[in-house]
Amino acid sequence: MKRRVLIGSVVALALASLGADRPGPARFPSPIELAFSKDGARLFALCEGTDEVVVYDARSGAIVRRIPVGRVPKGMALSPDGKRLYVANSWSDSVSEIDTAALEVVRRLPAGFEPNSVVTDLAGRFLYVANRISNDVSVVDLAAGAEVKRLVAGRGAAYLAISPDGASIYCTHIYPNLGKFRAPPESEITVIDTARQIVKDRYRLPNAAGVFHVALSADGRLGMAAQLRPKNLIPLAHVEHGWVFGNSISVFGTDVGDVGEVVQIPLDELDRYFTPPFAIALAPDKSAAYISTTGSDSVTVIDIAKLLECIRAATPAERRTLANDLSASANYVVARIPVGSAPKGLALSPDGKRLYVANRTDDTISVIDTAARKVSATLSLGGHAIPTAERRGERLFFSARFAFQGHFGCANCHLESTFDGLQWDLEPDGFGKDIVDNRLLEDVAETAPFKWNGSNPNLETECGPRTEKFFYRSESYDGWQLADLVSYIKAMPLRPNRYKLASGELTPAQERGKAIFERTRTKSGAPIPESNQCAVCHSGRHYTNQKLADVGSGKATDRSPLIDVPQLTNIVLTAPYLHDGSARTLEEIWTVFNPNDTHGVTNDLQKDELNDLIEYLKTL
């Protein structure tokens, strides 16, 4: 009897310990942006992994405060008087306002879907917020604490910079604008007139996608934006000579040419790549530009005078193709400074003598002596001493060192662990064959098989031999590394869905759409075969039955019409659609590519019913 009681007590205790205080996944600071206080006395490090701003004493390097903010903060900016620090909380759809004297959050401001960066006007009256999912810029009245309008940006509005005279705000975009099927990617720099609070111009960035930070020189005559130039229209046949990605900078401003003229210049060398360029810091005297290249664990230094000389010497035709001339960087790149793992945000000390670099995946800040062009010190953010398998995998995910000549890494296509909005011709099977659209990685863990034709039974196959053979053309990962990488991908958290009501209930339109999604009969009462019911193929927690299906969307250039049924979680984010990205919008899946009701029965639906179905799909 006593033994039974004892065993029961032990089991109860064990269950209780499992249920209560069970540790969640380890969280690492993951610094992504840096900023100095107006007097240079404090350094703010924005940590997207631990949802906080870490405040350093800039002189001693000691941490003086950790300020909790919203979820997954992505960007921050000081008010012109330096009394406030604004933090864009990308998963909370809000901005935290921090009192820089008290070092505490004093207000929460509204934003759009997934705010990524912020900047105020020079008067400090209005805050501009780039919203990555809603593709717009919020204008927030700081006196009222209210959003007054949204300005239409490009796709994936990401980073903002204000001109020194305050007249213009420049906005870059992480994703290319939606274009025609198999058209070259194109992004833009959206230019906002701060006096009228309207978009006044859009600088076209042909062949560019994945545009990150933008910076303006102190005299306002030079602008620079860090970007990728994906070569997604040609087969991924060989990785040398920049045939997969070009890493480049868009240069604009009166130092370069007329208003709106943009010259794209390369960062790479003939046999070495520096990818992807993320942040830019310009020396106060405009002598140098510093660019963090996340996958290459380095900071590239450009001599601006030499760069301008190179651009000015080029003919108009040469300017248009300069980005593809990998020998050009020798004219103006003067140093590559090795730093920590996955460098992201940069901040120059006010005197320009030190450059601080946020090393995202080793939770440190490198301090570079800008005269010596060497790391002189390293600050720790106090993360876990021993990285977990997921953390090690994350480092691999962001690294480009495995590809031939360091050309690219996972994060080049899965930008910031998401997608890139592009369609790739991945295998050397001829131009235009087996085109595949890039999918979101979140929530993929339980959705095997992988690849659009379902040929990879698990992520180990998808990320291991396939990556080595078709992508990197190099040794790739060993067994331990592959296990870590897969652990990271499986552990990726799913971002919140913006189309669900906070209550969890569905709107009337979403309810009607759900009924259509789950229907088993047509409107005339005829039964719909199970194989053609939305909720049968797109079933389960991830809305996939994990099987192959021929829904009639295959093209003559596809080797097989059988397509892996994709998961639908956050499907609204990942236009274009279908396996090859031929449907630009959710609507086109059915209005254009389902003429024979082979991809669900939809041709009996009225237009408003199709709209309802789409409203429901947005909630998944």
Binding site: G112, S134, D136, V148, K149, R150, L151, V152, N177, E188, T190, V191, R196, I198, V199, K200, D201, R202, R498, Y499, A509, R584, T585, E587, E588, T591, V592, Q606, K607, D608, L610, N611, I614, E615
Partner: protein, 347 residues
Amino acid sequence: MKRIFALVLVSVSTALAAAPEMPRFRWENFTKADGLPDDHVFNVCVDGDRVWAATENGLGLYEKGKWKVYRPQDGLAHRAVLGVAVDPRTGDVWVATMGGLSRFSAGRFDNFTQLSSGLSNDVVYGVGVGGDYVWTATAAGASRLDTRTGQWALFNERNTPMYEIWTYNISVGKDKVYYAVWGGGVLEYDVKTERWKDYNDPDGETEMVVLKDQGLIHEITTSVSYAEKDKILWVATYFGASRYDGRNWKNFLEKDSGLPSNFLNQVKAIDGNRAWFSTDKGLAYLDGENWAVYRPSEMLVRDAAGKVTRVETETAPAHQYVLAVDFQGDDIWVATAKGLSHGIRIK
């Protein structure tokens, strides 16, 4: 015969001094020869110092004395442009075309069609902006786009009193949104309650006016204009015009008002008492009591007593078939079947 002659003498006088003071204009006319995309101008929209012309063959932008033309090769959804609305907050221009809805924002066109978006139909007759919503009048009902969320709401015979789905024109106010439904009267949307209400001709679809001032003049409505401050709704039809104050209707016909024709393409209110009427026989203006008519052959003024006076003018609008107007301060821009006219106010 003598009686008729005497009547003409009484009703049409050229003595300017006797006529009420009505707006007079010096007219400048634009055609293709001046850079306008096409002479057939369906609509016009003033955007500060700029003017947008919706024509049968492209969208025209008049700025700093020059015309710029946008067509499908520039990104516009379709060459036949039927309406234009400017979002006063963002400056974005929404363009109704016969092949979908276009948004023109700082040089970039984004198109919304019935295949690529939730838009109800590609034939978009009218567009209006109210806050974050963009309302469209299409050949298959009304659509509303929430620009913050991208959600489309469609309004048609299944969820409104819209028994005819050929929506033709919109007037967007803060509290109310009005639709002119060609063959279906007028629809009113209450922004607060989100409910729809219809206004119809008490005579039904007959072209006879049996019950004047007891309701909307006719079911074939072409235009609505809501004077929100005064809470007055103006309606244009192919068989006269109507004014509604929320309780009473007042109808206007050629035979008993200063309208030059019962065939109206547009009405545009200044306020509850004053409005401009675009007809097939000229442009008309009502100042509350008196009327003026502007057309190539003449300018006529009709006082409250019905006395008509011909006013001498040196210039005239491009054509008597008028489709739409918009205001630029005291000036007026007039879309006609043969060119766009700029009426520069003579003071």
